[in-house]
Amino acid sequence: MSIVLFVLLLGLIVINVPIAFAIGFACLSYVLVKDINVALVAQRAATGIYSYPFLALPMFVFAGVLMEHGGITQRMMRLANAVIGHISGGLAAVTVAGSALFGALSGSAIGDTAAIGSIMIPAMKAKRYAAGFAAALQGCSGVLASLIPPSLTMVILGATGNISIAGLLVGGLVPGLLMAFLLIMVSLLISRRRGYGKGERATWREFVAAVSDSVLPLLLPVIILGGILGGIVTVTEAAVLAVVYAFFLSAVVYREVKLTDLPEISMQVLRIAVPVQLIVAISHLFAWIVTTEQIPQQLTAFFAAVAPDPLTFLIMLNFLLLLLGTFMESNALIIILIPILMPVVQQYGIDPLHFGVMFVVNLCIGANTPPLGVTLMTAAKIAEVRFAEASRAVLPFLAAMIVVLILTILFPQLSTFLPSLFL
């Protein structure tokens, strides 16, 4: 029965049925075949989203969208530019650093790619960077938002797998910074070899202006992380404070958002948040079936037979994930796989934080691997370059990200040390 369920699910996704509805219909067929009351569909879907941690999701999106409209993005880019813009290949380094900084505010990979990409990609093209290179670099930098707190991906992962969300948010920081560092190194090497131009060195006065202009926005991650790590507020409450603070900055301090902008801003929030919320709601139904069918137990038995130790298991799992990640959307992968995998992970005695962070690093690679790298696609659209060309240019960056993945697999401390200090 479970095989039929997965084949049906994949078949529907392949014929362009939206993922949430594909999961829903596969579950509905199961419910009908097993002669279970159909009301279960609505009951599980409604209770699936009736969950306090998930409230953080629309709130973080709201804060990110407000920041984008409120002129925060430009301030982050100016800061990054003032710090490293003058070295050769400087614009490339600014793209990575700016994405990491803004990712610390927005939390959404596609949002980050679009917001920073629309500024940096034209700038890079104007300095004669190859369009494919610009798209590939931006696509890979955009995913930093899912590793650097506050990350939406971590919220979804934590709530689905019953892993500490605060722990995941902090745990992603070191691998995220490591990835940013390696992406900068790779892009500098390529830029040097191809002679991509350097930017102007910022004058001392410009530097001071850029820094002082960014102090208020950069307080935001401090408020969020400080509040959560200090045990003062919950993740959801921190997310709401982020919205209020972002609104205060955009509407009162910078005066770039007016009340009349609210309809447009809230529609943008809903466009990003609602599809994820529906996937979350419906996969609650899916999780029920997975448990009823005892799929994790079967999987545990399977892995116990083929993978004697945790490391072998993690390596096999990562190969499988990389494969799935090339044609599946990240949130859908989390929601389908985490309920199935968590019991297996616990069986091997792997730290859930280590596993969770590693999972997200893997998804970052998937989001930039053809044929369905969603952030790479977004970046290629902005760069007006063929996806195939961006796909070729992305290879060196993918190599850098795979190095981070390998390190994350081999050294659990990279993801567990910081959380253990605070939580």
């Binding site: 362009n16 879907a45 709201f62 809903l270």
Partner: protein
């Protein structure tokens, strides 16, 4: 007739958009009030979390209908693009039927549960637990409308080329 239908649809979309915006702002307001009352005024609200979650359910399902209409739900259109036109159209019709079937089941289920839940009371808000499922019911009804429209469109094969990533 068709013009009246189009006008009705536009009006409905407007109403849903405004409702959703108000719900988003209300959720933010309620959650902020919760923080203020708990940490500044030291007297936690008993109803804030329930209200925010109730709004979350309503937002999810009403919003899903709007996003289905705008084709904003995550889908993979890569493979159907490779198909010859006749098969592509068949895939669209099957897809539309699948979505419609699920939405009908969701709406029917929401109706059944809302009825059973109507007796119990939410502890914080002191209102019937049915309200949670009424959001699913209304959203489900709208989802059915949108998917009927999509099915008609797919059968006619008219606006077939429209797609979103």
């Amino acid at each position: 007739m068709t013009q009246a239908l189009h006008a009705a649809k536009r009006l409905l979309v407007k109403i849903v958009q405004w409702l959703l915006m108000l719900m988003l702002l209300a959720t933010t307001g309620v959650m902020f009030a919760q923080v203020v009352w708990r940490y500044l005024l030291q007297s936690p609200l008993v109803w804030s979390e329930e209200l925010a979650l109730l709004l979350m359910v309503w937002m999810t399902f009403l919003g899903s209908a709007l996003m289905l209409e705008r084709k904003e739900h995550v889908a993979i259109d890569l493979f159907v693009e490779w198909l010859p036109p006749a098969l592509n159209r068949l895939a669209q019709i099957v897809g539309a039927l699948v979505v419609l079937a699920f939405n009908c089941a969701l709406t029917y289920g929401a109706f059944v549960i809302a009825e059973t839940a109507s007796e119990s009371i939410m502890p914080g808000l002191k209102i019937s637990s049915a309200w949670q499922y009424i959001g699913v019911l209304i959203g489900g009804g709208l989802l059915v409308l949108v998917s009927v429209e999509a099915l008609v469109g797919a059968v006619r094969g008219g606006a077939a080329a429209e797609k979103h990533a």
